[in-house]
C-alpha cells in the first residue's frame, strides 16, 4: 500500500470555528481521512507535542494552521510545524491576516491586562491578580506562555506556502485545497486558495446592483428589513463585497447579511482598510462636508469595520500609538 500523505491541524489564537469548518466537511471528511493520515490535531485527536517533535523534518505533507499568533507558545508550535512540514497553509482569516484577535493591536499587553485584570467590571470584583509567566509553588516552578504586545498573522512568524481565507474557510474551499494537494496540481506558492476577483462577481444579487452606485444614506443591518432579491448596497446596507476577495459564493449575503470582508482584499490590494475607505467614500452621494459627515456618522468605528479581519497585516501595523484609558 502506498504511503498516505500526512496532515496536521493546529490552532493558535482562534475561536475554534476553523476546526468546525473541517468537521463541516461532513461525510466528505471520511474521504479525506481515507486519503490522508492525520498525525496531529489537538482539538480532535490525542497526539502530543513530543509526537510531533519525534517526527522527521519535512515528514508532514501539509499543516493547516489556524488562528493568529499572540503567545510565545503559538510561535513555538508554528515554528515546530514549519520544520516538520513540506507545506504550511494559513487556514482562516486569523492566520491569513490576523483576524478579529488582531484588533487587539489597538492596545498592548499592559493596557489589556490593566483593563481585564484590574479595571474591567466583573461579577466577583477584581482582586488585583493577573497571570504571571512564572510562579513558584512548593512543588516547583509553573510556567505560562508569554503574552505579546502585538498580534501577528502566521506569515509574520513563519514562511507560509498558501492561504485559505475565510472566517471560517468554507468546506468547499478546504476540499478543493486538499484535492489540489493530493493531485499535486498546486498554484504558485504564496497564492490565496480562493477567487481572484471581487465577491460581487459571484454574488446572486449582482444583477440588481445599479450601474452607478450612489448612496445618500447608510443603514445599519438592524435598521432595515432587507429585501433578499436586491443588492444590499442598493438598499443602503454597507456590504463590503466590492473590495473583498470572492470564493465563498456570497454565503452571508444569501443569509441577508452584508459581507464583512473575511476573505480579505484581492491580489492587487495591499491594505484592505484603506481600500475600504476609498470604496465607501466613492459611493457617498454628497459633496458638502457637513452632508458627508452626516452620512459617515453611520460608520462610528471605521477601524472595526474595515480592519475587522486584517489589522495586523495593514500598513499601520505597529506605527500606531497605544491607547491608554
Amino acid at each position: 500500500m502506498a504511503k498516505k500523505p500526512k496532515v496536521a491541524f493546529y490552532w493558535c489564537a482562534s475561536c475554534g470555528g476553523c476546526e468546525e469548518a473541517v468537521v463541516d466537511l461532513a461525510e466528505a471528511v471520511l474521504d479525506v481521512v481515507a486519503a490522508v493520515d492525520i498525525v496531529f490535531w489537538p482539538v480532535a485527536l490525542d497526539f502530543k507535542v513530543e509526537d510531533v517533535e519525534a517526527m522527521k523534518d519535512g515528514s508532514i505533507t501539509v499543516s493547516f494552521i489556524n488562528g493568529a499568533v499572540r503567545l510565545s507558545e503559538q510561535e513555538e508550535m508554528a515554528k515546530l510545524l514549519r520544520k516538520k512540514s513540506q507545506v504550511v497553509i494559513a487556514f482562516g482569516s486569523c492566520s491569513h491576516m490576523g483576524g478579529i484577535p488582531g484588533l487587539a493591536n489597538l492596545w498592548d499587553k499592559d493596557s489589556i491586562f490593566d483593563y481585564y485584570y484590574h479595571k474591567g467590571p466583573t461579577v466577583q470584583g477584581q482582586n488585583g491578580s493577573e497571570p504571571l509567566m512564572k510562579v513558584e509553588v512548593p512543588e516547583g516552578v509553573l510556567e505560562l506562555p508569554s503574552f505579546w504586545d502585538t498580534v501577528k498573522s502566521l506569515d509574520q512568524v513563519i514562511k507560509v506556502d498558501y492561504y485559505l481565507p475565510g472566517c471560517p474557510p468554507t468546506p468547499k474551499l478546504l476540499a478543493n485545497a486538499v484535492q489540489a494537494l493530493l493531485s499535486g496540481k498546486l498554484p504558485p506558492p504564496g497564492s490565496v486558495l480562493a477567487g481572484t476577483r471581487a465577491l460581487c462577481h459571484e454574488c446572486n444579487l449582482n444583477e440588481s446592483k445599479p450601474e452607478k452606485l450612489l448612496l445618500k444614506e447608510l443603514k445599519r443591518v438592524h435598521e432595515v428589513q432587507v429585501d433578499p432579491k436586491k443588492c444590499l448596497l442598493a438598499q443602503g446596507v454597507l456590504c463590503l463585497g466590492p473590495v473583498t476577495r470572492g470564493g465563498c459564493e456570497a454565503l452571508c449575503i444569501g443569509g441577508n447579511m452584508p459581507c464583512t470582508g473575511c476573505f480579505g482584499p484581492t491580489d492587487e490590494v495591499k491594505d484592505y482598510g484603506a481600500k475600504g475607505v476609498a470604496f465607501l467614500s466613492s459611493i457617498v452621494d454628497f459633496n458638502e462636508e457637513k452632508d458627508i459627515a452626516k452620512v459617515l456618522e453611520k460608520v462610528p468605528d471605521p477601524v472595526g469595520l474595515f480592519y475587522r479581519y486584517s489589522l495586523p497585516t495593514s500598513f499601520m501595523r505597529r506605527t500606531l500609538e497605544v491607547k491608554r484609558e
Partner: protein, 140 residues
C-alpha cells in the same frame, strides 16, 4: 542647536492642474518654504488612494498633505469631491489608530495661490514638528 531640531518628513500629494502649478509659481517667485516637504505630483487629488497615505506613514512620513483644486474647480469635474470624502473618513480612521489630527491635512490651492501653498507647507511643518515623529510601539 538647529541641527538637533526635529525635522519632520512631509509628503504632499499635489494635483497637476492647481497645486503643482502653485508650487511651481512659488518656486519661480523665490518664495521660501521648508525643505521638509516632498511633493508627489498626480493628475488629480482624486487619484490619492488612501493606501498611498497609509503607505507614506508606514514608510516613515511624519505628516501627509493632500492638495488639490478648489471645489467646483476640478479639471475632472468631481475628483476633489471624492478626495474630500476619502479624507474625512480616513481622518476618522487614522485618529482611531492613534494619529494626531494635524498629521493629515487637506488643502485646496489653486494655480494662482503660490502664497497659500507656501503658508500651508510652513504651517504643516511647524505643526508636525511640534508633534514629533510618529510614535512607534514596536512591541514584541
Amino acid at each position: 542647536m538647529t541641527s538637533e531640531r526635529f525635522e519632520p518628513r512631509i509628503v504632499a500629494f499635489v494635483c497637476n492642474w492647481c497645486t503643482y502649478i502653485a508650487a511651481d509659481a512659488a518656486g519661480t517667485a523665490r518664495a521660501r518654504y521648508s525643505p521638509n516637504v516632498r511633493l508627489i505630483r498626480l493628475m488629480c487629488s482624486g487619484r490619492v488612494d488612501p493606501q498611498f497615505v497609509m503607505s507614506a506613514f508606514e514608510k516613515g512620513a511624519d505628516g501627509v498633505m493632500i492638495c488639490g483644486c478648489h471645489p467646483r474647480d476640478c479639471h475632472y469635474n468631481e475628483g476633489n469631491y471624492k478626495t474630500l470624502r476619502r479624507y474625512l473618513l480616513l481622518k476618522k480612521m487614522l485618529s482611531q489608530l492613534g494619529f494626531e489630527d494635524e498629521r493629515l491635512r487637506l488643502e485646496w490651492i489653486s494655480a494662482s495661490e503660490p502664497e497659500k501653498f507656501r503658508r500651508a507647507v510652513e504651517e504643516m511643518t511647524e505643526h508636525v514638528r511640534k508633534l514629533g515623529p510618529v510614535k512607534e510601539n514596536g512591541g514584541k
